[in-house]
């Protein structure tokens, strides 16, 4: 694994973050666990709705590239919502709340949240 310029000598003086490898700070939000699960993520999603929709669209485009007929998306939008009641509480309710706050179809929010297991395919 020594293939300069794709690898390099150990960097130093990179902190505090600056320059071309630093693309920005990360915003802070609060999730109030005393709220009903479906309400907990409303603040975050309200602020990040556009980014989330854009990312989901990129995954849809990818799915359409693999299955041009659109059947993969149909499967996600029709069948994945059936899984929601089987997911452990409170995560299932939090996922429902995210779907309604973002306007993203429930099946696609489910897919996003179980992506780790799906991606191993």
């Amino acid at each position: 694994q020594y293939v300069p310029p794709y690898t390099e000598d150990c960097r130093n003086g990179m902190y505090p973050p600056n320059g071309p490898t630093f693309k920005g700070d990360v915003p802070w939000y609060t999730v109030d666990l005393d709220l009903p699960p479906s309400k907990r993520w409303t603040d975050v999603i309200t602020n990040k709705k556009n980014e989330m929709v854009s990312m989901i669209q990129a995954i849809r485009d990818l799915a359409d590239a693999f299955v041009p007929s659109g059947k993969l998306i149909d499967l996600v939008d029709k069948d994945l919502p059936l899984m929601v009641p089987t997911l452990p509480y409170p995560f299932n309710e939090e996922i429902r709340g995210i779907a309604s706050a973002s306007g993203v179809p429930l099946g696609e929010v489910v897919l996003f949240n179980i992506f780790y297991e799906v991606f191993t395919v």
Binding site: R11, Y29, N113
Partner: protein, 253 residues
């Protein structure tokens, strides 16, 4: 991904990680970047999870994702997870789930439950080691006392050969990328060697949040899949995250 927990000469534990994701999910020829990785960067958020107006735990998340990949229970433990590939993978877990066999846990719901409910390093370690999973994973756990850090390598049903800090015998940090620690990493994707070389070059006497950030900023530990870097110090209860970029020339993974 690259996760590490290091103990400095004063017994302080520093837990840090690069979250790399989006491999093979669309390559943007023009910008020489991964499509999904770039989309995820704009969704990175730090979350303060509170109950009765007190912080229970803090995490770095992708907005819309309710599970946990990176988190700290202040003054108690720190937790990150890295992806593990195995033929006995998540698709089998999902199939079992669909067929009604639901005794396993979705990985990110387990990490969320641990951060929300575990009250000690030992408690967290037991849950992460013994809970049946739908997919294999690496859990990198740091505690709040000297010597408390480990890499838990999980198959769906078992914890395999946990690797612990052993400062007395010279192992003052544990570091995990995406390969079993008892095997050589894939030669095409060896981020472990350069990361360890930089940690060893730094030495325990000089390890700190700053020098750990240097290690995670060194190519190919920093690569085109790196979305964010998180630095955590359990003794201070601090978590800070930064969105990353890898200027060309840079490894695609």
């Amino acid at each position: 991904c690259t996760s590490l927990v290091a103990e400095d000469v004063n017994g302080n534990l520093i837990h840090a990680r690069n979250l790399d994701f989006g491999l093979f999910m669309g390559w943007d020829m023009q910008n020489r970047s991964w499509v999904i990785t770039e989309k995820l960067k704009s969704m990175v958020v730090n979350i303060d999870f509170r109950r009765n107006n007190h912080t229970v735990f803090k995490s770095t998340n992708f907005a819309g994702y309710v599970g946990m990949l990176t988190g700290i229970r202040p003054h108690t433990f720190t937790l990150t997870m890295n992806e593990r590939f195995s033929l006995d993978g998540g698709y089998i877990g999902i199939l079992e789930w669909i067929l009604g066999k639901r005794d396993g846990m979705w990985m990110s719901f387990l990490t969320r439950s641990v951060l929300e409910n575990a009250t000690s390093y030992e408690d967290a370690k037991a849950l992460l080691s013994d809970t049946k999973l739908l997919a294999p994973a690496y859990f990198i756990l740091g505690g709040n006392r000297t010597g408390q850090a480990c890499i838990i390598t999980r198959s769906r049903k078992h914890s395999i050969s946990p690797l612990e800090l052993d400062v007395k015998n010279g192992r003052w940090y544990v570091l995990e990328t995406n390969y079993d620690h008892w095997k050589e990493p894939l030669f095409l994707d060896d981020r472990r060697t350069p990361a360890m070389r930089c940690m060893n070059q730094t030495t325990q006497a000089n390890i700190s949040i700053k020098t750990v950030y240097d290690v995670l900023s060194t190519k190919p530990v920093l690569n085109k899949l790196t979305t964010y870097t998180t630095l955590m110090e359990v003794s201070k209860g601090s978590l800070e995250s930064f969105i990353r970029d890898c200027p060309n020339p840079c490894m695609p993974w």
